[in-house]
Amino acid sequence: MSIDPVMLDLARDTLSWALFLVGGAAVVIGALGIVRFPDFYTRLHGVGVTDTAGAELMIFAMMLQAFSPEYENSWLIFSKLVFIAIFLGFTSPVSTHAVAHAAWMTGFRPMEGPDLRYDGDGK
């Protein structure tokens, strides 16, 4: 049984566009989180959504696009995207931690508890 190339193209485009849209939505949601959350440390959690779901889903979408018939060396494009995904996975948490740790070391303490108060003196 052979798969109709037109159908394959359609399936690939549909799936990759779905991933692009969800990834784009995740970036916007992460940005909304950064604006809406109350203090420095909670805002960092918004960055987490943008860094993981946003970036990685878009890269997955690009990986699917790499196999479009326009490109001759699909596997090379795919492997480069794999490298980007992996390196991003290693570096983005490090940068988030660097920011959080810098704030912690300078003595900046987070809001705590459901009523969001600055009362604890940390641990």
């Binding site: 995740a26 949601i29 992460g30 909304l32 989180g33 809406r36 959350f37 109350p38 203090d39 440390y41 909670t42 960092l44 959690h45 918004g46 987490g48 959504v49 860094d51 993981t52 779901a53 060396n73 090379l76 492997s79 480069k80 490298f83 996975g89 290693f90 983005s92 948490p93 490090v94 988030t96 931690h97 959080a100 740790h101 912690w104 987070p110 809001m111 705590e112 508890g113 459901p114 969001l116 604890g120 940390g122 641990k123």
Partner: protein, 159 residues
């Protein structure tokens, strides 16, 4: 010696996949030369150790990554819901979790995994504990983070 071979193999694979030259002898020779130079410099700088070339985690780490991706997906949904909620029900708190991995690579993998999972950020690494900031009561779940640490410790032991 084993680490040198792993380093050469990894750099060669990286060079080949990034360049895409598989049949141009001159360029391949330059690539081989640059791999040899980079390995020699790393050896000379004494960074070819368990921390620089963590070959020991290779067999176990892939299964852990797959598990981590599903966890990140679940946590993303929770944080996204809070970001979009009309009145976010946040309950941020700081808490300590044990850091069971023994090697430096394992400890860093665990700390990075906590930061990567939306809703928890590693604030401080201590001797055998990690200070974590959690966004809500659900996300600041010490038991599930402890479980993540056990998984890293199993992965670093090679399975």
């Amino acid at each position: 010696m084993g680490r040198i071979l792993v380093m050469v193999a990894a750099l060669s694979a990286l060079w080949l996949l990034l360049s895409g030259y598989f049949d141009k002898p001159l360029l391949l020779a330059f690539g081989g030369g640059s791999v040899a130079l980079a390995t020699w410099l790393a050896h000379r700088a004494r960074v070819l150790d368990a921390e620089g070339v963590p070959g020991g985690v290779i067999p176990g780490i892939f299964g852990y990554w797959i598990w981590l991706i599903t966890e990140i997906g679940k946590a993303n949904l929770i944080v996204a819901r809070e970001a979009l909620a009309v009145e976010p029900k946040l309950s941020p708190k700081l808490f300590l979790v044990p850091n069971p991995p023994r090697t430096a690579v394992g400890k860093v993998t665990f700390a990075n995994s906590i930061t990567m999972t939306p809703g928890t950020v590693t604030v401080d690494l201590r001797e055998d504990e990690i200070l974590v900031h959690g966004l809500t009561e659900d996300l600041a779940d010490v038991e599930s983070i402890r479980d993540m640490g056990e998984r890293v410790a199993r992965a670093e032991r090679g399975g």
